[in-house]
Symmetry: C2
């Protein structure tokens, strides 16, 4: 790090106090992160399911290594370049929970399978043939899962017959191993109440059950059923059907997950700790308004406004590209004050930053590169 310059290149150095960090910066509270990772690892173990956390959320090899050390079986990714970034950083088991159809990307994926255990999802028979041909070229093997649409109406096959046909195609394709079923329903994760998520889960399960029955009837062993997110994992873990959880947000949490409720109406995020913050600074107090330096380029807006932590009565009222409008009715904020914000949506917010500032007790412990930042292709 000696050739990096704090400020321009990195927002802090180890040993700095939080009030020295150059803002806006992405802060990771290590105590909270470690507690979240331990809690989910224990829950998965208790339920007898594997945990394969989603790397698309944090995009950080450092966070992934903590998750692996706590017993995760591997990592999920969404993009080939994301998987490449994690494999280059030393991760050895990645599942691309997505369809990869571009010839160049398929080639990269088959090549990557020579360096790590690599899986991918399909919902199209021609895609199976293309993946197989690439693996033959590279002399590698890909683990291929059939994605089933369990209610999100996005990707995935619709009927048990289609799932069986694709599984057979994978089984008979050289260079491919049939890995099982991808059954993730993203749309239910942020439904506001436990009852709504439970109902959506039951509908999702009702779409999965006949697929698994058809595979069994066809004599096709299904090694893995993988899915689940931070809003639904308890249902999948208890179902006896899913064998692997893909939760991502649990490690950091965000303001949007803070708005949904768990069983009994309790706040879902009371079970977890906010480990991710955008550190902002008050940069203008003209006319009694407080304006901070964190706007749309420091956190994304599609899941609502960030929450202010540790400043009683202060709220974040509005975004522009580089500014945030704060409401401070008691007028306590001073020019230069630093403020912890809980971003609305952790995944795309992590993707904005080159570095995570890992802190403990208000002191910077490490600078973590956001390994797969911008790896969208």
């Amino acid at each position: 790090m000696e050739n990096l310059e704090p400020g321009y290149d990195i927002p802090a150095l180890p040993g700095w106090r939080e009030d020295q960090v150059q803002t806006p910066a992405l802060l990771v509270d290590l105590d909270a992160l470690e507690a979240n990772i331990a809690r989910m690892a224990a829950a998965a173990q208790a339920a007898g399911v594997a945990l394969r956390p989603h790397g698309k959320m944090h995009k950080s090899a450092d966070v992934a290594r903590l998750q692996m050390a706590a017993g995760a079986v591997g990592l999920c990714c969404q993009k080939v370049s994301e998987a490449e970034a994690f494999v280059r950083a030393g991760l050895r088991d990645v599942l691309v929970t997505n369809q990869i159809v571009d010839p160049a990307k398929i080639d990269r994926l088959a090549r990557l399978a020579g360096m790590a255990a690599v899986g991918v999802c399909v919902d199209n028979a021609a895609n199976v043939a293309d993946l197989s041909a690439a693996c033959l070229r590279h002399g590698t093997t890909l683990r291929v899962l059939v994605e089933v649409d369990t209610g999100q109406a996005r990707c995935g096959v619709d009927t048990p017959d289609q799932a069986v046909a694709l599984a057979r195609a994978i089984q008979s394709a050289p260079g491919l191993d049939f890995g099982g079923v991808q059954a993730y329903q993203g749309a239910m994760q942020h439904l506001p109440t436990h009852a709504e998520r439970q109902a959506a889960f039951q509908a999702s399960q009702a779409r999965l059950v006949p697929v698994l029955a058809a595979l069994q009837a066809a004599g096709i062993a299904c090694p893995t059923v993988t899915g689940g997110g931070t809003g639904s994992w308890g249902f999948e873990a208890a179902s006896g059907l899913w064998t692997e959880l893909q939760c991502g947000s649990y490690a950091f949490m965000d303001a949007d997950y803070g708005r949904i409720t768990g069983a009994g109406g309790s706040r879902l995020d009371a079970e977890w700790q906010n480990a991710l913050f955008v550190l902002a600074q008050v940069m203008s107090l003209s006319r009694g308004r407080a304006v901070c330096d964190a706007g749309l380029k420091a956190m994304t807006a599609e899941s609502g406004l960030p929450l202010v932590r540790g400043r009683e009565g202060v709220t974040y009222q509005g975004y522009s590209d580089e500014h945030g409008q704060l409401d401070d009715p008691a007028g306590r904020l001073r020019l230069g004050d630093r403020i912890r914000l809980v971003p609305g949506h952790c995944d795309p917010t992590c993707n904005l930053h080159d570095w995570m500032v890992a802190t403990r007790g208000g002191v910077v412990q490490a600078l973590w590169p956001v390994t797969a930042r911008g790896k969208v292709f």
Copy 2:
């Protein structure tokens, strides 16, 4: 570029056809960009005002160099790290159109003034003293402008007396040159009709006029009045008050500027060409739905959905982090098809990508790094 690997590191190589570019990627149509740059340069020259395009929009030294070659007097930036990135890339005149209050950032800014002509805005007297002290330490000079709140209710002083007091403080502070007045009203740029923007401009001008009169009455020469954006620049250019325009979006345009109207009710973007696209690829066609690979990590959502170009009847219906839902009533899309999307909001969308793929006639001409991407602090 020989040690970069197309795919993982960069989305394309010069000479590739557009249908080989790894998606999602940020495309810049060079013919459209050059036309936009030439048109605004000519308009500013005809109006007798200087043009200082806003670098926060594109964050690209390559685009900035084209703007400078067309007669721009310098570049605007919003952040110290952004200004540092542009100066490192060879730009020699940058104005930070923002307040910089953090001691470490002030120090970096004063140091940067030893490498380029650097300006900054203030709305606070203590900030003037801090900037001056830093310039004395580094033996440099900063050009300091008084920001006036002309109606956005964000940063900037409120009254003519405050403006005069700050201008005097700057004039008497060693290491600082009084550069004039920053008068930018961002909130009016995207008002939907010409009449609404004109009314907002008149209110903005009504706040500026007494400030300029008070400065004159106090015997303070005001070398520059700078402001204006892509939605309002015609008003500022014709006012006889503003001496410099700060437009940014005109170079690329976006879907949101396409929704507002110019004089006579014509589309504002009919005067400009869309030069910025997110190239996406159809990755799933399960159940008759087309899903593409460009979601929230390829373009931001706060200004509405992207527009599909060149695919009749196809519309972009919804986002998730890595997916876009397309509506294709005629069922013409095929797996692997590439689609040009006009993003909703150019500024934060450019900030998501590491590279711009500069194309002409469907062939890649160059890969441009997004010089100041992520330079938020």
